[in-house]
């Protein structure tokens, strides 16, 4: 299968801080590929380099057969970028925003008008097309941002955290759009820090953390790497702060990892029969009562934790990581 994107040893250094560290992967034509990792892992920096908006310190990225460093304009013509923030001109209407984008991508007047009508219809924005974008809801902003990225009918759609900050309904709609766009034959590269999103949308993912690609595989195979691991979920009765039990349970013998997932304490272990009595005794010893216990199938998140040794985090854990994130974000914002 032909590669839509081929990244080799891509590296970006921000004044001594490695935001992206020798990352290599390929995205096949027509597939949905995900880069999964916490905020500040280097996902955005990676896609900025792929889109020709940031020069790599070393390494190469070839998009649709063009080397980004040598032919950035050719690459830009073939990519539609949906950034993590909906960066539209707030004072202008959806139609004027799309008109401007169409002009920048060199579409003639007739084609512009046709495509604008088409995407406004497709993304359910026709009725509000003449309202200033600043009055749009977050979901509408997102839809318009995707519409703007598709105005020149790119071969490849690159989406940075496509459902970030959206409510469940708007996020579902965006996911449906991603699948529809892919069915049209377009390749999609998306980044996400939401494991369930990667699980739902991307058959193949690369897990990235601290600028390095930790693993690259199909979601199914990554999940199966957690085989041998079992997951136990418990809730402590009448406990407001379930989090306080994490270090207590985490210290028990046989527990590989423990974290909070959807309000429940999720414990990973290779031998559940050994740890169930240990955990029950431990909770009892610390004055708690277990409300319910269930055994669950290993998820992508379990596999992620198994691979990285930690859950996907929102906050930087060190000053260096904080600086790295700030530098990565300051790119041109």
């Amino acid at each position: 299968m032909e590669n839509a994107i081929e990244v080799k040893e891509l590296t970006r250094n921000y004044g001594g801080l490695l935001a992206v560290d020798h990352v290599s992967f390929k995205v096949n034509s027509g597939e949905i590929f995900g880069l999964l990792g916490p905020n500040g892992a280097g996902k955005t920096t990676t896609i900025r380099m792929i889109c020709g908006m940031l020069r790599p310190t070393s390494g190469t990225a070839v998009v649709a057969g063009f080397d980004v460093s040598q032919k950035p304009q050719e690459v830009k013509r073939r990519i539609g970028l949906v950034p993590d923030v909906s960066n539209l001109f707030g004072e202008l209407s959806a139609r004027v925003n799309l008109e401007f984008m169409g002009k920048l991508y060199g579409l003639d007047k007739k084609t512009r008008r046709q495509r604008i009508d088409q995407v406004l219809e497709l993304f359910h924005l026709k009725e509000r097309q003449n309202d200033p974008v600043k009055y749009y809801s977050k979901g509408m902003h997102r839809r318009l941002t995707i519409a703007a990225a598709l105005i020149h009918q790119p071969e490849i759609l690159v989406m940075d955290e496509p459902t970030s900050g959206l409510d469940a309904q708007a996020a579902r709609l965006v996911r449906e759009i991603v699948i529809d766009v892919n069915k049209e034959g377009r390749t999609i590269l998306l980044t996400t820090h939401q494991i369930d999103e990667a699980d739902r949308l991307t058959p193949r993912v690369g897990i990235i953390d601290h600028g390095r690609l930790i693993t690259l595989n199909t979601v199914e195979q990554i999940k199966s790497s957690a085989e041998g691991l079992r997951a136990l979920e418990i809730r402590i009765l009448n406990e407001v702060d379930q989090q306080r039990w994490i270090p207590i349970i985490g210290g028990a013998e046989g527990v590989d990892n423990v974290f909070l997932a959807e309000g429940k304490i999720r414990i990973l272990s290779k031998d559940l029969s050994q740890i169930i009595p240990t955990v029950v005794n431990l909770v009892d010893k610390h004055g708690g009562k277990i409300e319910n216990v269930s055994v669950a199938q290993p998820t992508l998140e379990d596999a992620y934790i198994n691979l990285t040794g930690e859950s996907i985090r929102e906050e930087p854990k060190s000053r260096e990581e904080y600086l790295q994130r700030r530098l990565a974000r300051s790119g041109l914002r």
Binding site: G52, M53, R77, N87, L92, F100, K103, L104, Y105
Partner: protein, 249 residues
């Protein structure tokens, strides 16, 4: 073909910027209220105190030059806002050359400077009856001044990573320039060494040239226009260099 496309990109970027600025009525009103307020305040004060001198004939060209400065720098600083809001990324992700982006942003800054200055010129002429002997020279001076201020705006936009910092940096330049650039007081009456400082500022040449055009002193206006041209080239080159470095990093 490639050059004409690059130029069209620049025109569309400028058109989009101006459309965005003019869509916000409050933005336009607020940016014009300040020079209008200054014009009326100073005209009342000095108009009443020295009725024979027609201080207003001295003041209006200065206010027009100052308005061009505020209009151009404010508009060009939209680059900083665009960067902080991520809007700049939208243009960067498109197949548009860095030169087109810089030319487009420069054009919108200069156009805004010219439009703002013309509004003040019109108000000055209509309300205070100030007239200019050579109006085409006035337009040329306003255009050149606006371009040189736009150059300063691009330098600020390149140096300041965020809007708050850009505002502080621009105020650091604009306010001393407003008081030392001969808008309200003649440069010659300033105590030493302020006239030397004033002679380093483009606004001084803009106001001097506008006053010279008011009375038809073409030679002075021409020399000042040449100085403004040098300023324009210098600030544009430096500003473009800084912006180019940011865009291609």
């Amino acid at each position: 073909m490639k050059t004409s496309m690059s130029l069209m990109h620049a025109v569309w970027i400028a058109e989009n910027d101006l459309r965005q600025s003019f869509k916000s009525v409050r933005h336009v009103v607020w940016s014009l209220l300040f020079p209008i307020f200054m014009m009326f305040t100073f005209s009342f004060r000095y108009g009443a105190a020295e009725p024979d001198i027609r201080f207003i004939n001295f003041l209006i060209p200065g206010i027009v030059g100052m308005t061009a400065m505020f209009g151009s720098i404010n508009e060009t600083m939209s680059i900083v806002w665009d960067r902080s809001l991520g809007v700049f990324d939208r243009i960067l992700a498109a197949p548009v050359s860095s030169a087109s982006i810089i030319v487009g942003k420069t054009m919108s800054g200069a156009v805004m400077g010219v439009i703002s200055a013309l509004v003040l010129l019109l108000i000055g002429s209509m309300i205070f009856g100030v007239s200019f002997v050579n109006i085409s020279l006035v337009l040329l001076i306003i255009l050149l001044a606006s371009f040189s201020f736009t150059g300063i705006g691009t330098i600020i936009s390149g140096l300041a990573p965020e809007p708050r910092e850009a505002m502080m940096l621009s105020n650091l330049l604009r306010f001393p320039m407003m008081f030392l650039g001969g808008v309200f007081f003649p440069v010659e009456t300033m105590p030493m060494p302020l006239p030397y400082v004033a002679r380093a500022l483009p606004l001084t040449y803009a106001t001097e040239a506008l006053r010279a055009s008011e009375v038809g002193n073409i030679s002075t206006a021409f020399i000042d226009a040449m100085v403004l041209l040098v300023y324009t080239i210098g600030t544009m080159l430096l500003g473009s260099r800084i912006l180019m470095r940011i865009m291609t990093r």
